[in-house]
């Protein structure tokens, strides 16, 4: 999986491309861990390029969400492909993640609800 980072103010926007599974999930966690070390705790994932996600990929996202909470930050997702959207519904993870239809909507939410 390919991870590209763009920054908008204090928010790190990560564009993910490819499959989100055990190895790419680990890579993503490492990437975000480095962001935390730099005190970047507002993280947005644009998942438009992710067409497959499995159990390990979901576990990585849950783990990142927990770490972000511990860091009193915010973790948002947007642009979920149908397959990804479906697995979020089946696992009811859509209830616990902040999911936005578009990246613009997600970033706008940071204006009104800053990180904890």
């Amino acid at each position: 999986m390919d991870i590209k980072q763009r920054d908008q103010g204090s928010i790190a926007i990560l564009d993910l491309n490819g499959r989100l599974d055990l190895s790419s999930g680990t890579m993503l966690k490492e990437h975000i861990k480095k962001l935390f070390e730099k005190n970047v705790t507002s993280i947005h994932l644009n998942l438009s390029g992710v067409d497959f996600i499995n159990s390990s990929g979901l576990g990585s996202l849950v783990s990142i969400m927990k770490e972000t909470r511990l860091a009193k930050g915010r973790f948002t997702l947007s642009n979920l492909a149908n397959y990804v959207q479906e697995i979020f519904e089946i696992t009811q993870l859509s209830h616990i993640f902040e999911i936005y239809t578009t990246e613009e909507e997600a970033l706008a939410s940071y204006q009104s609800v800053p990180a904890n």
């Binding site: 599974d21 499995n54 159990s55 927990k66 089946i90 696992t91 009811q92 009104s112 904890n116």
Partner: protein
């Protein structure tokens, strides 16, 4: 005419009847006449011993309006009977502007009570025609009339009264309070300097009125004159000054940029919210983003049951933003809150719940309210605290299905791998939402143990469990599910075979494609279709040779699907396989072929496509047109 006179006389006599119905009928009949005598009769009925008849007469008089009515009613204003006097006043106010000329005419009546009542009525009617006559009453010999005049001028609200009120303030001590109040109600900014001066008075009542009046005028530049009073040792004065600031804030659309000592007014502001004062509520909530602290959070928690849905949303957002700072206080509030408040607060706490706070809400898992238990399960799931698992396991045994469902979902969110066997039990629940929650949890948990259990479930005695197993394995999507899914391609249930094939094509990395090739010959059409898509997706062009025989499948939809799937590869060399189908007997097959050719691109197909765009079947004609357009672009 004579008959009418006789009738009116009779009706007037009937008004004295001991019989209620006769008197009531007389009032109704008198109402039908516009004569002065009839009006007089209705006025007489205002003193009827029965309230119903008095109200009926009052209603008739209100509709009649006119000078005679007003003049007759004015006479009642001098009545000894308070009830009659008040009723006459009420009717005159309801008559409104039509009564104003008569009222002004009697404004100089010898009876000071009548002058006072008329002044009051003119104030309530609020017609500017009365301003000048009422201003003259500011100089009445009777102090009550003078005070009423000042009040009435405030009610009318005309700036024409301002100089008179200022003069009265300076010259008549008894009218000062009412004059200042009236100046506030009129709201003319030209009086502000006078009002600032009034604030220097030693009389606390007048200062109080001055502060209120400044608030009523509502100019942002007045704030600097109010700020010194916010620290006044007289609490009432300080609160009136704060209220004036709040009114100015409302009137200026919140444009109050002063750094106000809000901490000194916490009780005042939150009492205002509790008493549903709109101005105070709006002001307080709009300040919260810049005004935090333990007392503020406590205040918000105390008023949460007193606000409407809109304000509740704002409060929960603010509490959410306060995050941990609010957490412990919310937990305290949860111990004594009503069920509805608990639900609201759990929504708030969920935004920032962590392992530590989760410990503090574990007790809510035994709340008597099922919705509270359900929400608690969700919040515990979000918390990431593994110590919540025993509590969630208890909730998974709850008598209420929704609670069990929430508990299973939460266990999944906690990724409690060690509890996989327990979560599996949820798949046997009698309610589908609980089974689905358990399934979702197991998908998140994943891992070899879960995969093994689902693999075994492919041979479960219950076909529904077999179907759940193949679905779950597909969503788990790890490498270890590939072999169980390959096995499932040979399952006796066609739905399971199809599901296994579709899942494997998504997962990829399939070591052996032979089961897919065999599935191309499956007796079930949906399995054959899934196998075509899967093979082409997994093996690309190399699989085309194996699937081409399905272009001649006995089932039209398998043929349709195979054409589509080959088209999606987008390899122009494959167009030769599809071109013959542009001239198929069935329009649906022609349509699939046209769309596939559009993907693949082919010069050889152009003449046929050109012919097809003239087809009677509009869908086909449009598709051909579009294909030509797309291919024109490509070539």
């Amino acid at each position: 005419m004579e008959n009418t006179v006789v009738n009116i006389e009779e009706l007037l006599t009937l008004l004295q009847s001991p019989d209620f119905y006769e008197r009531e009928e007389a009032v109704k009949q008198l109402n039908l006449s516009d004569s002065d005598e009839a009006v007089a009769g209705l006025v007489i009925a205002l003193e009827d011993p029965d309230l119903g008849i008095r109200e009926l007469a009052a209603d008739c008089l209100t509709r009649k309006k006119g000078d005679t009515v007003a003049q007759l009613l004015i006479r009642f204003l001098g009545s000894e009977d308070i009830g009659s006097r008040n009723l006459a006043s009420e009717i005159l106010v309801k008559i409104g502007r039509d009564a104003v000329p008569s009222l002004i005419e009697y404004l100089n009546d010898d009876d000071h009570d009548i002058r006072k009542f008329i002044t009051d009525i003119l104030g309530l009617i609020g017609d500017e025609k009365a301003v000048e006559p009422v201003c003259q009453r500011l100089w009445d010999e009777n102090a009550n009339v003078v005070c009423s005049a000042a009040e009435a001028l405030g009610e009318i609200g005309s700036t024409a009264a301002v100089p008179h009120l200022l003069a009265a303030y300076d010259k008549i001590e008894e009218v000062r309070l009412q004059a200042v109040e009236a100046l506030g109600k009129i709201g003319d900014p030209s009086v502000l300097n006078k009002l600032y001066e009034i604030l220097k008075t030693d009389d606390p009542i007048i200062r109080y009125a001055g502060l209120e009046a400044i608030g009523e005028v509502g100019r942002a530049d007045s704030i600097e004159h109010l700020v010194p009073f916010l620290g006044n040792e007289d609490r009432l004065i300080a609160e009136v000054a704060m209220m004036a600031v709040i009114k100015i804030s409302r009137k200026t659309g919140g444009k109050v940029s002063y750094d106000l000592p809000l901490n000194n007014f916490t009780d005042f502001l939150f009492d205002g919210i509790r008493n549903r004062d709109r101005d105070i509520t709006e002001f307080t909530l709009s300040r919260l983003r810049h005004w935090f602290g333990r007392e503020v959070i406590q205040g918000l928690l105390n008023v949460i049951d007193y606000v409407d849905e809109n304000d509740l949303l704002r409060i929960t957002e603010i509490l959410g933003e306060a995050g941990h700072q609010a957490g412990k206080l919310i937990v305290e509030k949860l111990k004594t809150a009503s069920s509805s408040t608990k639900l609201k607060l759990l929504d708030v706490i969920r935004q920032f719940i962590d392992e530590e706070l989760a410990e503090d809400i574990l007790d809510l898992a035994s709340d008597p309210d099922q919705e509270v238990r359900q929400k608690t399960a969700h919040v515990l799931g979000v918390s990431g605290n593994p110590r919540a698992i025993p509590v969630l396991k208890a909730l998974a045994r709850d008598p209420i299905g929704h609670v069990r469902s929430a508990a299973y979902s939460a266990m999944g969110w906690l990724c409690s791998y060690d509890e996989a066997d327990f979560i599996f039990e949820g798949l046997d629940d009698k309610y589908p939402d609980v089974r689905e929650a358990a399934l979702g949890a197991l998908i998140i948990v994943g891992g070899p143990r879960v995969v093994q259990k689902f693999y075994e479930d492919l041979d479960h005695m219950d076909i529904e469990r077999q179907r759940l197993a193949v679905t779950a394995l597909g969503w788990i999507g790890e490498e270890e599910v590939v072999l169980p899914l390959l096995k499932a391609i040979n399952h006796s249930d066609p739905g399971i075979r199809r599901s296994a094939i579709t899942s494997l094509s998504k997962i990829g990395h399939v070591p052996d494609l032979h089961p897919f090739v065999l599935a191309l010959h499956d007796e079930n059409t949906s399995v054959r279709k899934a196998a075509v898509s899967a093979l082409l997706s997994l093996n690309g062009e190399a699989a085309v040779e194996e699937v081409t025989f399905l272009l001649d499948d006995e089932d039209v939809w398998v043929r349709f699907h195979t054409i589509n799937a080959i088209g999606e590869l987008g390899i122009s060399r494959l167009a030769e396989l599809i071109i013959p189908f542009l001239e198929d007997d069935l329009d649906i097959i022609k349509l699939a072929a046209v769309k596939a050719i559009a993907h693949l691109g082919s010069r050889e197909a152009l003449p046929v496509l050109d012919r097809l765009r003239k087809e009677k079947n509009q869908d086909l004609a449009k598709a051909a047109e579009m294909a030509l357009s797309t291919m024109g672009g490509k070539q």
